[in-house]
Symmetry: C2
Subunit: 396 residues, 2 copies
């Protein structure tokens, strides 16, 4: 019998996907180069050539049996060692191979991390604005996702609301910095206060509360800064990384979970991830991708285009009178819409072939997201169109 829960979900349309599909259809009418498609968070720069070279070298020179054989259940040991030593060098935590679990991208990471530290019925808190896929990611584990309202002045954490919601049912807190959709990077102060409140709650309620840190945008940070690494501030942290954005490999489904060496159960969490894999059909990311990213562990694609695009858009949005927080990283920006109904705003923008995603699904109504992982030339051409849209529709 077909599972009714999943069947019913077929009726829930994704706003982002609908807009992306509309953009593609519109592109086939007027040329996709004329559609200012800010809908999808797909990397727009090629992977690092060293990655391509590493893969070709592997296929040309390594025995097929070696590169294509089953990965050990917990990942290829040498790869885990490489990841651990890179993280240790960069962030100063005493990672060893036993703390690293290779996964099939951030979705795979979250599927394991969430199941490992929650049980059905537990609460997982996250902070608006948030990636809408967190809802099925969390709820399909049996835990319940609850969303702390946004602090809209800077999109750091709304600690007063967080405090109210941090009750004894909370087993895990899920953060995403640099953030999709706001582009904001959590400051050191934010992470310190978060850590302090979580530590207090652990004492108060007498159980561990894990911080699950979703970090696919960690390498896309602007103004020459570094993204504060959440695990440095709170021991019970599971850092979930994907190479999809930093190396422009979203289709290759490769990332890892790094368990803070000082976390409760730091020595058994990775074996627990291995147990979880069996039931969810994960069985490791591909062996060749594990081997390949290990060869370019400290490299990224040339990510500078995202900062260029952000500055162009941010300056124009400010000029046009938008309320907007300047992103510290990612390839997203999240301005306030010019009317309360972000859907209506987005709909009007479509008349100008501007594809903007209304923010309601991100848990923060009245805003819109622009994913500026597109060519700079197109961003530049979109600016006068954005201006025309705003002046015509909103008289600015």
């Amino acid at each position: 019998m077909i599972n009714e829960m999943y069947r019913e979900r077929l009726n829930n349309k994704s706003v982002i996907r609908d807009l992306a599909e509309y953009a593609a259809r519109r592109g086939s009418e007027i040329g996709y180069e004329n559609v200012f498609d800010y809908s999808l968070g797909n990397p727009s720069v090629p992977t690092n050539p060293d990655f391509t070279k590493a893969v070709i070298d592997m296929y040309e020179n390594e025995p097929p049996m070696k590169i294509h054989s089953y990965s050990p259940t917990l990942g290829i040991t040498a790869v885990r060692e490489t990841i651990a030593s890179s993280l240790k060098r960069r962030f100063g935590l005493d990672y060893e191979a036993k703390h690293i679990f290779p996964v099939s991208g951030a979705a795979g990471a979250l599927a394991h991390a969430l199941r490992a530290v929650t049980k059905p019925g537990d609460t997982v808190l996250t902070f608006a604005p948030y990636f809408p896929e967190y809802t099925p990611y969390v709820n399909d584990t049996g835990a319940v996702l609850k969303v702390v309202p946004a602090r809209t002045e800077d999109f750091q954490i709304n600690f007063s609301e967080f405090e109210k919601m941090l009750d004894s049912d909370v087993a895990a807190v899920l953060i995403n910095s640099p953030n999709n959709p706001s582009g904001i990077v959590y400051s050191e102060d934010t992470l310190k206060q978060l850590s302090s409140m979580l530590g207090d709650a652990e004492k108060k309620y007498g159980h561990d509360i894990f911080l699950i840190s979703d970090e696919p945008y960690r390498e896309i940070v602007f103004d020459g800064k570094k993204c504060p690494y959440p695990s440095r501030y709170y021991p019970n942290t599971l850092s979930c990384y994907s190479f999809s954005k930093g190396l422009s490999l979203p289709g290759e489904r490769i990332g890892y979970i790094a368990v803070n060496p000082a976390a409760s159960g730091a020595d058994i969490l990775v074996p627990i991830f291995g147990q979880i894999s069996r039931g969810i059909g994960h069985n490791c990311p591909t062996s060749t991708m594990q081997l390949a990213v290990a060869k370019v562990i400290d490299e990224t694609s040339d990510l500078s285009v995202y900062e260029t695009n952000m500055n162009l858009l941010y300056d124009k949005l400010v000029e046009l009178g938008f309320t907007v927080v300047r992103p510290g990283g990612t390839f997203y920006i999240f301005p306030k819409a010019l009317e309360d109904d972000a859907y209506a705003f987005s709909k009007k923008a479509m008349k100008y072939d501007l594809i903007l995603v209304p923010s309601d699904n991100f848990g923060c109504p009245g805003y819109f997201r622009m994913a500026y992982c597109i060519d700079t030339e197109k961003v530049e051409r979109s600016l006068p169109v954005l201006e025309e849209f705003v002046r015509t529709e909103y008289g600015r």
Copy 2:
């Protein structure tokens, strides 16, 4: 808080893995070439060179943005079309792209198929002897795996026991032909009778009962025969395929589910798989592996060594007086042990550096599995050792 259910599982040791680890340790003492390691089902032949060429060509000549971008949620359309037309050509069912869902290997296939057609509390039946990982694969969906006892004379289906267990709670039946661990291929007669009984039960109980057919060994069939394709005999069939064995790519996690075009909900099952992916963190097999296997869709590795090895072992086992059913495919054979306690038998064999897996975990005590995906030269050298073991320990 660490999930206690998964934590407890850390204490459950896998017999197969323990034996494989013992074999590796023993190999480091006496040279692995002197350990007759029949423990693990790892392909022992290289992948097809055309596959390697196709991947290198793709990396050298295709734009990185094209080959590494996100796969659509339901898989790359052109790849799904290629798989559908290959299956249609080979098995005569009217597959279209919409019936095909690329997955990360057989584990990924089963994770989706099981969730799609069962709900928590439903019964899933399988037949002994069976792959022990079916237990977590099924039970972690919330459904309950029940095992129909073996028909030991030929390891086809024990229909009288099946009939007793086929009650109204049964939502799905899980088969594996060619079979791990018995090596048996289900005959046309078996599949016809299974189909007939399932059809009767559907009418009697008034709901669909899906056949989930796990077919990673489909291309490894002996004596020039073909494996009868279960979906041809029963419309409500989900065929779960992995390229891991036929193309020797177990680490690359690439396979598919093919929904019989005449199944109930044939048009919505693949979209339902897409919904399931979100919660289990699947998000498609890698884009490059989807593209690569599509380029060699009707090719396999040179699989002939498995038949050579099977014949050597089968003839010797018969000569030594073992009760053994001749495998029709796979790289497994499943003889009756020479004493009731297969663990004791396996333990005695270890004294001769023969690594044989006792059968209790396969739901069929008193037998042992030999995985003969090893070099023929080693199989040949193992035969006098097997003889010495049997003569010395059992006076044969």
